[in-house]
Amino acid sequence: MSSVAQKKGFGATLWDWMTTVDHKKIGILYLAGGGFFFVLGGIEAMIIRLQLLRPNSDIVSAGLFNEIITMHGTTMIFLAAMPILFGFMNAIMPLQIGARDVAFPFINSLGFWMFFFGGLFLNISWLVGQIPDAGWTSYASLSLVSEGHGIDFYAIGLQIAGGGTLMAGINFLVTIINMRAPGMTYMRMPLFTWTTFVASAMILFAFPPLTVGLFLLTFDRMFGGNFFDHTMGGNTIIWEHIFWIFGHPEVYILILPAFGIFSEIFPIFSRKRLFGYPAMVFATVLIGFLGFMVWAHHMFTVGLGPTANAIFAVATMAIAVPTGVKIFDWLLTIWGGSIKVTTPMLYALGFIPSFVMGGVTGVMQGAAPLDYQLHDSYFIVAHFHYVIVGGVVLGILAATHLWWPKMFGTMLSETLGKVTFWFFFIGFHMTFLIQHWLGFWGMPRRVWTYMDGQGWNTANFISSIGALLMAIGVIVLVINIIITTVKNVRVGNDPWGDGRTLEWAISSPPVHYNFAQTPLVRGLDTYWIEKSEGNESGITPAEPIQDIHMPNGSIIPFFMTLGMFIAGFGAMYRVETSWGLSALIFGLVLTFVSMAVRSLQDDLGYYVKKDEILRDLKRKGGRK
């Protein structure tokens, strides 16, 4: 596949990527897009820490600081963490269940472009100079009075990106429900597929509230609505509820796939089956379910009353139980195994103590009266970075090393990988551990600067130095990626040698139809079973070699999204500019015409002929 692409000209290659509906390529697109925004959010983080390096600092102004923290949070959650995870879900999950593509390849592409254009929309605010500044939570009273179009960029950008997320969620759900290979029962699915499944289900039920919330905010700001204007009978607490009904599940949407990634890594590099698989699955589902019951623990100080606070406090603590089950199952997976500390395993091993720290501080904040002290202090900043960086980002970095050979056919350098890990890991703890104490010492979060003489100087200094170490780690990773790509040493099907799941049974990267023959799954860790039974090919086929039906590529998703992108600008500038209204109309027309074209044509896909499959098999030297 890639060798073919290299022969094409630049234009043809670009066209190929813009029209692709291949889940593996879309996975790479997500990875690239998410990686770009990750670096952007990281730069923002560095500026934040630079500003807080010393007291009374004025490297950035007060207003700019709020804009940076808002964009840092929004970018990292919506445009970096989630898309990168989507990249892995796209690239790997269909392989793990023995499918040739996702259920809706067209919608898959649409989802990517919506994320990308949504992210672009949000970040164009930097160029316009009107930047969201009400925090990533955008609490209504502040977001309503925020001047300029900053918050409009936030609302419309997230609306577009959020639509893409919802589509991706439905797509993954249907893929897992309908497209599992014969024998791949639910209780034989790899944990990463399971967590993708549960996270997608959570997306399905958590994103519509965000959609509504953002619409209400847009209406209030741009169309004379009064949802959050208390002088007109509105109520800002509604925004807080809606945001957190989305926002809390969102955290689990991020962390569950990371759990899935680690649940793949521990067995591979311990050469041992995941301990307590059914308990793991049950815990995942339970966490997903409880994730919807606890949103008000973000609002303990809002004044909901002791009864509501007590209920949500206890519900929040309950989540510790399934999470604890997971931790112990991982520990017992490596217990008695044969542990090889590769880079992915290093991340997984680093994850356990980091995430346990983040988890227990979460329980502490679940204790409502204690949360009155910790809420909106630096303690919470430390807590959620322990969960998101110590959980999600370590998971993402681990997955990058683990699946890079599967996605690109070449291994990232292990040495540089370990260098990255140690810089990142030490830097991470240095940055955030001390912040717990900053919270105890009374430092509120989201402060632009702090006065001297409050005892916060040293801790902030240490924290900022830690951030620098994390940045060095990421830079080493980028260098690693460049060197690896240039060297381009090709690897075989199972480069780690101990792969257990189906993706390791096929070539790296896989052919565009993934499986020459749909595999027959005979148990959990099916590739491991085949290997241990001496099956050289690693797969027991469930069908003869025959023509394979594949979907056609399409440029329509690109234009559909471009239309929304243009319409977004039009809606924003509809009043104060002459072109606003026409842009709004043009954008909407472009989107709807694209939809109509898609709807009116018969797109039946095409067939990969048996001859071509046989030819591929021969070139690869058999299925191995």
Partner: protein
């Protein structure tokens, strides 16, 4: 999938909406989508209930005085009937009777259009009384909830019209069978949402 494959009522599958993998995917995916839509409307209902009758000081509108049950009752009947006619259409889909299916879908669309026109009339009437979108939190919430439903009806109308015309020459096949079926799912969903709007917004507004 071969579009030119000709069916007879005998060879036509019992469940054309789930006869191929693509169809099955659409079928399951659409159900899931409706699950998400349910949460969307639930959020709007919750917002409406929280802001019902709320306005600036001296606000003069209340649900009791505003709503006109007879008009809303007629709208409800129109939409309920259109749900029934779409069931007839699905009956003919299953029996591979394309002409009758198209006919019933056409009737469904006309009933939906009548509903929509009455809703537009209702909104225009309220605006005429001074109950505009920006006059209070209550009005914002009302127009957003009921308007979102109305928008769904409008989308449904465009969808079915396109389907009817694009397939008028093609006839039924396994490719477009699911499309008709998912439309009918969508239409029933809209109908159910309206039943809730009728109850929660109008009946509880006037009586409760």
């Amino acid at each position: 999938m071969d579009l030119n494959k000709k069916f007879t009522p005998e060879t036509w599958p019992d469940h054309p909406e789930r006869a191929t993998l693509e169809a099955k995917n659409k079928f399951v995916g659409f159900w899931l989508f409706l699950g998400g839509e349910t949460v969307l409307f639930a959020t709007l209902f919750a917002t409406y209930l929280a802001l019902k009758n709320k306005g600036p000081s001296g606000f003069g509108f209340s649900t009791q005085e505003l709503y006109q049950l007879p008009l809303v009752f007629v709208m409800t009947m129109l939409l309920l009937t259109s749900s029934l006619t779409s069931v007839y259409a699905m009956y003919h889909l299953k029996n591979y009777n394309f002409k009758k299916m198209q006919l019933w879908l056409g009737i469904t669309a006309l009933l939906g259009l009548a509903f929509l026109m009455l809703e537009v009339y209702e909104f225009v009437h309220y605006v005429g009384e001074g109950f505009t979108f920006d006059n209070s939190a209550f009005s914002s919430a009302f127009y957003t909830l009921v308007g979102t439903h109305g928008f769904h009806v409008a989308i449904g109308l465009v969808w079915i019209t396109l389907l009817i015309f694009r397939n008028s020459k093609r006839g039924l096949n396994l490719y477009n069978g699911t499309k008709f079926y998912t439309f009918s799912l969508y239409w029933h969903f809209i109908d159910v949402v309206w039943v809730f709007i009728f109850t929660v917004v109008y009946l509880m507004g006037v009586i409760g």
